[in-house]
C-alpha cells in the first residue's frame, strides 16, 4: 500500500484534540462568568400556589411594584397574567442591587428587559427571581417572550431606571411610576 494507512487517523486525532481544547476554552470563559461577575441563569426553586396568589401574601394586588424594605433592599414584584403585566410600569434605582420576583396565576409567561441580561420564564407554581443592577437610567421595554395565548403580542411592560437621587420611596417604602 502506497499511502500510510494511519496518517488519516493521526490527522483526525490532532484535529479532535484541537476541537476539545476549543470547547474547553469556551467552557472556562462561561464558568468564570458565572463565578466572578455572577452571570447565572435564574434558578431559584421556590413554589407558590398560582390559584390563590391574589388572596393573601406577597403577591396581592396592593403589594405589587417596587418596595424598599427596612434593611434598604429593593424588591420589585410583578404578576404576569393573560395578557398583561401588573403593574405595567415599575421604577427601580440605578446602581443598586434590585431583586425582581415574578409569578403567574394562569399559564406560562416569560420576559426579558431589552438591552440587559434579565431574562426569565414565569412558570405557574414557581416564583422566578432575578437579582440584577442597572447602570444606566432610562425606560426599558419588558415584553412577554413566551406564547401565552392569543393576546401574547400585546403583553408589554416597562422598567424605568432612575438615578438614586430621584428614587424616593414613600412612607411604606413603595415607589410607583408616575402617570404618563
Amino acid at each position: 500500500m502506497a499511502i500510510d494507512p494511519l496518517s488519516n487517523a493521526r490527522s483526525e486525532r490532532r484535529w479532535a484534540f484541537a476541537m476539545v481544547g476549543a470547547a474547553m476554552m469556551m467552557l472556562f470563559a462561561i464558568v468564570w462568568a458565572s463565578l466572578s461577575p455572577h452571570m447565572n441563569p435564574p434558578s431559584n426553586i421556590e413554589n407558590v400556589d398560582p390559584n390563590t396568589l391574589h388572596i393573601a401574601g406577597e403577591f396581592t394586588e396592593d403589594n405589587l411594584g417596587t418596595q424598599v424594605d427596612a434593611k434598604g433592599r429593593v424588591t420589585t414584584r410583578i404578576v404576569t397574567s393573560q395578557f398583561s403585566f401588573a403593574p405595567e410600569c415599575v421604577v427601580v434605582p440605578q446602581d443598586m442591587q434590585v431583586t425582581f420576583r415574578f409569578v403567574s396565576p394562569d399559564v406560562i409567561h416569560g420576559l426579558l428587559v431589552v438591552g440587559t441580561n434579565i431574562n426569565t420564564m414565569v412558570v405557574p407554581g414557581y416564583v422566578s427571581q432575578v437579582h440584577t443592577m442597572f447602570d444606566k437610567p432610562g425606560d426599558m421595554l419588558m415584553p412577554c417572550h413566551e406564547f401565552c395565548g392569543l393576546g401574547h403580542s400585546q403583553m408589554v411592560a416597562h422598567v424605568r431606571v432612575v438615578p438614586i437621587a430621584d428614587f424616593k420611596p414613600d412612607e411604606n417604602g413603595r415607589v410607583a411610576c408616575a402617570e404618563h
Binding site: 441580561n117 415584553p143 413566551e146
Partner: protein, 485 residues
C-alpha cells in the same frame, strides 16, 4: 411543519438507504406503508385542528394551555408511524449483519440505524408528556397540570429531536457528498464515532432549553451545559472529516496547493454545491447555537429572534438544503430517469441559501436587541423598535425568495415525470468509499449495545432527579386552560 416535513423525509430516506446500501429488500414493506398511513392520518388531524382554531397552542404545546384532544392524538399517530420506521431500520441492519457475519455494516445504514436508536430515545419524553399529562387533561380527565414536569419532559425530546433531523444531512455529508465530488471518505471510523457522539451527547442536554426556567437547579443546568459543549464536538469533527474528504476529491481532480483543491471541486453537481452552501450556513447556525448553549449567555437571547435565526440557519438552511440535494440525488433511481435540468436544481439550491441568509441574518441582530419571537405584531411607533422596520423588510424579502425556491424544488421533482427529454436510465446511487476501506472496525462501532448502556447511564444522571423532584417536592399545579371551547 418541523415535525411533519422531517419525519416523512427521514422515513423515506431511511427506507431508501436500507435497500440501496444493504442491497437487500426492505423487511415487511407492508408495515412501512402502515407507518406512512399513520403519519398521514395524524398529520391531517393536526392540520385540521390547527386550521379550525382548535389548537392555538403551537408545537411546543405550552401546557396548561390545552387544545382539542384530536390535535394531540394526531401527533401521537405521527410518532407511532415513525416508531415503526425505527424498528424496521434496526431489523434491516440486524438481518444484514446475520447474513454478513464479521463484516462492518455500511456506514450509511449504520448512521441511519443510529438515528433510529436516537429517535426511540428522544421520543420517550414527549410520549410520556402526551400520554400521561397532556392527553388526560385534553379529555378533561384531569383538571390540573404540573407545568414544570411537562416542560422537563418536553425538554428531553426538544434537543435530541433536532439531531434526529440533522443526521440525514450528516449521512449525506459523509457517504454521498465525497462520492458525488469524485473523492473518498477521509475516515470511516471517525464518521462512525461522530454519529455515536451525537447519540451519546445529543440526549442528556435538553435542560439547556430550560436555562431560564425557575423549576431547575443550577447544578443540573450546569452539567447539561457542559454536556452541551461536548455535543459541539461531533459537529466540529464532521467539519474536518468532510472537508478532508472533499479535499481528496479536489486533489484527485488536479487541485494543488493549500486551497487550490476547492476550485477544482465539481461545483456544478447539486450534491457538491449543496454541501458547500450547507457548510457555509452551518457556520452561522453553529455560531448562534454556541451562544445559546453558553449558560448565562443564554439570557441575552432566550426566546428572541436570535433563536429563530439559529434554527433557521442550522435546520432550515444547512439541513433542509441537504434534504433537497438528497432528493435530487436519489430521485433518478426512484423515477428511473435522469434529471431534466441540473441547472434548475442549482438555481433552486442557490435561491434557498440566499433566501435563508437574507431572512435569518437580521434576526440575529434584532434578537440581541430584544425582538422577542412568536409575536404577531410589534409597536413600530415605539422609538426603541422603529429601527427594526427596514430589517424586517429585508427579512420578508428573504422569505419571498424561499417561497420561490420551494416552488422551484417541487417543479424540479415533478419535471422528472413530465418532461420527455429525461430518458436515460441512470446508474444506481453509490455511496462513498473510505480512503482506507480495509481499516478494521471495532465491534463497538458496528452495533449499539454498548452505546445504549451509556445513553441510559447519562440520561439517568442528567434527568433522574430533575424529573423525580416534581414527585418529591410536589409543586402546586396549574389549572388547565382549554383553547378550543
Amino acid at each position: 411543519m418541523g415535525y411533519v416535513l422531517t419525519t416523512f423525509f427521514i422515513m423515506g430516506f431511511g427506507y431508501f438507504v436500507a435497500e440501496s446500501a444493504l442491497r437487500q429488500p426492505l423487511p415487511a414493506p407492508r408495515l412501512a406503508w402502515l407507518g406512512f398511513i399513520l403519519g398521514i392520518v395524524g398529520t391531517v388531524m393536526v392540520v385540521a385542528t390547527v386550521l379550525t382554531g382548535h389548537a392555538s397552542v403551537m408545537f411546543t404545546f405550552y401546557p396548561p394551555l390545552t387544545a382539542s384532544p384530536i390535535f394531540y392524538l394526531g401527533l401521537v399517530l405521527v410518532v407511532v408511524g415513525s416508531w415503526i420506521w425505527c424498528v424496521l431500520m434496526l431489523v434491516a441492519m440486524m438481518r444484514w449483519k446475520r447474513a454478513n457475519p464479521g463484516q462492518p455494516v455500511p456506514l450509511a445504514m449504520y448512521a441511519t440505524a443510529a438515528n433510529a436508536v436516537l429517535w426511540l430515545w428522544t421520543t420517550i419524553g414527549v410520549a410520556v408528556e402526551l400520554l400521561f399529562v397532556v392527553i388526560p387533561a385534553a379529555f378533561g380527565w384531569t383538571q390540573t397540570v404540573d407545568v414544570g414536569l411537562t416542560r422537563t419532559l418536553f425538554s428531553w425530546t426538544l434537543h435530541a429531536i433536532v439531531y434526529f433531523w440533522l443526521i440525514p444531512a450528516y449521512i449525506a455529508f459523509y457517504t454521498i457528498a465525497p462520492q458525488a465530488a469524485g473523492g473518498r471518505l477521509f475516515s470511516d471510523l471517525m464518521a462512525r464515532a461522530s454519529f455515536i457522539l451525537f447519540l451519546l451527547c445529543g440526549l442528556p442536554v435538553g435542560l439547556h432549553h430550560l436555562f431560564m426556567d425557575p423549576e431547575h437547579s443550577t447544578g443540573f443546568k450546569s452539567i447539561q451545559m457542559i454536556l452541551t459543549v461536548l455535543v459541539a464536538v461531533p459537529t466540529l469533527l464532521t467539519v474536518f472529516t468532510v472537508t478532508a474528504s472533499m479535499e481528496t476529491a479536489g486533489r484527485l481532480r488536479g487541485g494543488k496547493g493549500l486551497f487550490g483543491w476547492i476550485g477544482a471541486l465539481p461545483w456544478e453537481r447539486p450534491m457538491v454545491l449543496a454541501t458547500g452552501l450547507s457548510f457555509f450556513m452551518l457556520w452561522f447556525g453553529g455560531f448562534g447555537g454556541l451562544i445559546n448553549m453558553s449558560y448565562g449567555m443564554n439570557a441575552m437571547v432566550h426566546n428572541t429572534s436570535w433563536v429563530s435565526a439559529h434554527f433557521h440557519m442550522i435546520f432550515g438552511g444547512s439541513v433542509v438544503i441537504m434534504y433537497f440535494a438528497i432528493a435530487y440525488h436519489i430521485w433518478p433511481s426512484l423515477a428511473g430517469r435522469a434529471a431534466p435540468s441540473v441547472a434548475l436544481q442549482r438555481i433552486q439550491l442557490w435561491l434557498w441559501a440566499v433566501g435563508m441568509m437574507v431572512m435569518s441574518m437580521p434576526w440575529h441582530w434584532l434578537g440581541l436587541n430584544g425582538q422577542v419571537r412568536r409575536v404577531a405584531q410589534f409597536d413600530y411607533a415605539d422609538p426603541s423598535m422603529s429601527w427594526w422596520t427596514p430589517w424586517m423588510a429585508v427579512s420578508l424579502a428573504g422569505g419571498f425568495v424561499l417561497v420561490v425556491s420551494a416552488a422551484l424544488f417541487i417543479w424540479n421533482l415533478v419535471s422528472f415525470h413530465v418532461e420527455r427529454s429525461a430518458g436515460v436510465y441512470p446508474a444506481p446511487v453509490k455511496y462513498a468509499t473510505a480512503l482506507h476501506p480495509d481499516q478494521p472496525v471495532p465491534a463497538a462501532l458496528n452495533g449499539f449495545a454498548l452505546w445504549n448502556v451509556f445513553v441510559l447511564i447519562l440520561m439517568a444522571a442528567a434527568y433522574s432527579y430533575p424529573i423525580a423532584q416534581f414527585f418529591i417536592l410536589n409543586p402546586p399545579q396549574a389549572v388547565v386552560h382549554r383553547v378550543d371551547r
